[in-house]
Symmetry: D2
Subunit: 308 residues, 4 copies
């Protein structure tokens, strides 16, 4: 049985995302109060792997995760998980919507579900405090004085509550991307639809330097999924770039791009190659498939050694 | 007399930065509890201008500022201010270092000054709470039970305290960059060492699209100072780019680059041209000075109309 | 009535091409023995315009024309003419194919029509000498001893001969491109399907320099029709580039590309903008039409002067 | 003993250049009347290698050589030779300058030495005909009626003439570059200052296609020495590119660039890697030396297989 850590407490969206990871149902799950705590738990061997958020479609990158992976001891990403950040109205079993007088939730959740609450619970008193997971715990106690919690599905279920309405956020839900992190090791096999995650430090801080890095990808036909600038923490105006690119370290185009980046960058941090969680397929340009690279290598070998 | 807003409360580093802006000593200063509140105060005309943080050399970009400028009603940046985030040990006048038994400060400040405090106040009890500005206010009260506060210079001075030791952070201080924002209007004159601030939305989310945007700068000899990706909030994997580039909208190379960006981007948000706060001078490549552009225009005019 | 020069003598393919130029039928036509002679005749005012070959689909560029336009006194290209280099079998009126026993032509023409001659005139004696125009002149004389000439259509017609078979070259005919040249003056109006002809000298002879020139076109969406390297005649390994690009000097994308080239090149020779002779239409990329440039200029003007 | 062919006849500058090739003094030398004849002599095995001109600093590329190497059966370049095209005044032994009344030479040579002849032999009658080698042969015959020949050094020496004045061209001499060609085989070892010669056919005839090819060189740090466009002979406006690039097929940066070109081009013809004849040293950019490539490969290998 393996041990998984996650950015907790129990009932967070990270917890919910972790339960979609194969094997998590049989694993020992350990919540950590901070992203850094979870990543250090992986490094120390307390857990075999850990799930932390890295990016949200509305809020952007999670700096704590990016910076810890960049500046902490080496770790490796082995999987990504996408989760719609959806809110559910939970009650104690037996409570009907018409019985709900007092609702407890976190301020963010209250803000995101404002219209729904106004339409469906116009008379209810909305209290905001703590976390959505804590709200679920409180509602579970009949003496709490609260009738309903707005929280994640998992938080409600954890506390034996019953869902009255799902997906009650006013706008289409934001999506959070989580990564499963382990100690560095052998990269998993290519699946044909993978991503490779990197952090790049430039040799010089001029506009041409970033262009040069991007051309290392472009000249090999490697598409980028994400680019996120982060301060190098040395001085204002100095940045490194967290990049996800389409392809696997075992794909020829990615391998050559990585070597090119290694040659022209001050530093390349390789954070892993892993299957894409979305349904996207790589857009492989003419001349950049593995077979094209193999044919080019064969051609070169014959140029160098015609008699072979 | 003009009215300036800032991201408060009184005694914050933003407040301290604002006092370095010419005219701030004669202006009416209004603190706002949030960045969004300050920017809305400018939009509504409550204040004529406002100072908010946009970037820190350690923490990175300030998302609240970037997103509000990107997605809110148009505003314009007219100035930037750099400030070293430095901590000072403040006491009530008359207190000597050897008298300090209890220190109050904010947790971040305590963490950043840990070594100094251990070396110089090994016996002192360090309490962390609220904000550094609140710590200074508390220490000003002889009945508070606290002898010293670790806070910004301005917070200590505001409360009539006396500095015992300056620059007590363990590492070289981080630098925060602030921007002075107004309602849109006529851009100030070029000074020869300016920056232009933009947000760019790409037509398509592929790696070539970012490369194409960067080439619009490169082909005109415009250097970039900063590039920061932000989610477009529509879907995971869709980004826009907050960019600061060297030069003024009245510089020919910048003007042509801006028009090029306008043509190839889905959208360009122009946030203003303003003098650089650092001592840097633009690195103008051969053939990209205003005179080179003027000569090229003259040459073209003669090609089109030889008799003129 | 205007005076046209051409690379002669009478009956050459250049002569034939010139007759397709509007107004040539009413003009005074002057043959010149050399390309340089024709171009100097234009410069001196002996003729108003002149037609010379610049490129052939098999032989490549015509160095004499390219170099004279590059290094001689300025001239301007106002039109291009494409002509299939086709051969015709000409006889004196009344001669039948079965009567042809002796054929006269130029060695190149004999080589290119070898199969046809072998198939249709297997018994004939083929003599090669002088030029195809001279062959036509000779055959016109009944005492010449020759029954037929392989020559251009115009040469045969000039000498009152009769065509027995047209298009007798063994392979699809090569195409030659000719240019009509005048003294420098006002460029003709844009037609929507134009070319601009340039010679570019780089500031430095490194691979990046050529790339930089090509990027000046690419970043404005200007496609190239032709690029031809020529020695600068200063030292081995130093080249200039004769370039034809899609568009007219009055097209915004071309104008901006030209100004960019003027800024980054050691020298740009503008040889004119003129209608394309082929049926090709310009491939105008998104964001690079005249309207896109005008919209970008308007947008920039409003940024610079919001109250206008 | 080896057999060398050359573009003759005896006494040409090609002959003179061949004598500078190591081993040529002991070899059997065979002149060929045409470049094509010489190259076919190599293909058929009549000679082991052949020297032909490929480029002149004033006239440009030698189309006959470029096209034969491009479209004929494969051959390989193993060496290049540079020669200043210099003219010498030769007489029969015993003739003094004051005795020279009639000079014989080729029209080009007469044109290039016009000023010298006017200054030093103002009374002499200058006859132009045939070739400079034939002029030397004629002058060797006392009954020829000619006193002096303007020709190459080797032509004069071949016919037992005596040089009266060397380097008499009016302008600094043009330089011709010759190539030594063999049947395809194993490429010679890298020397650290080599060139690789290629012909590239693009997948599509648009301006971006050439840019893409050039970026394959640039992204690996390979500099270009020469680029020469040639028609593909299929239709007007379709070009291939004869390119010389700095480096050897055994240099890592060149190998990767070649493979990249193979992937993105319609066709790459490899014509060989050989030592540079000039004294130039390669300009190896940071990160593109063989050691940088080897380090990048090692780094990649460890990423892929951490336990190795």
């Amino acid at each position: 049985m393996s041990r998984f850590g996650y950015f907790g407490p129990e009932g967070t969206f990270t917890h919910q995302a972790l339960l979609t990871v194969p094997g998590a149902d049989l694993a020992e799950l350990t919540p950590y109060a901070t992203v850094a705590g979870c990543l250090d738990g992986i490094r120390s061997g307390e857990v075999d792997a850990g799930l932390v958020p890295i990016e949200n479609s509305v809020e952007g990158g999670v700096s704590a995760t990016l910076d810890n992976l960049t500046y902490g001891e080496p770790l490796m990403i082995t999987r990504e998980v996408l989760l719609e950040v959806q809110f559910t109205l939970f009650v104690r079993p037996g409570t009907a919507l018409t019985d709900v007088r007092r609702v407890l939730t976190h301020p963010h959740a209250a803000a995101q579900c404002r219209d729904w609450l106004a339409a469906h619970l116009p008379q209810a008193d909305i209290t905001t405090d703590g976390s959505t997971a804590a709200a679920a715990a409180a509602v579970a106690d009949p003496d709490s004085g609260y009738d309903a919690a707005v929280c994640s599905r998992i938080a409600g279920e954890l506390h034996g509550l019953e869902a009255l309405a799902d997906g009650i956020a006013d706008n289409t839900a934001a999506v959070t991307r989580f990564i499963l992190v382990t100690r560095p090791g052998r990269v998993g096999p290519a699946t044909g639809a993978d991503k490779t995650s990197l952090v790049l430090f430039m040799r010089a801080d001029h506009s041409g330097a970033l262009l040069e890095l991007l051309e290392q990808f472009a000249s090999r036909g490697v598409n980028l999924c994400r680019i996120e600038s982060r301060p190098t923490k040395t001085q204002l105006g100095s940045y490194c770039f967290a990049i996800d690119a389409e392809g696997h370290v075992d794909d020829a185009r990615m391998a050559e791009a990585l070597m090119g980046l290694h040659r022209v960058s001050a530093r390349v941090i390789f954070l892993g190659s892993f299957p894409r969680a979305d349904s996207g397929q790589p857009d492989i340009l003419a001349g950049t498939a593995n077979a094209d690279y193999a044919a080019a290598q064969q051609w070169l070998d014959r140029l160098r050694n015609p008699s072979s």
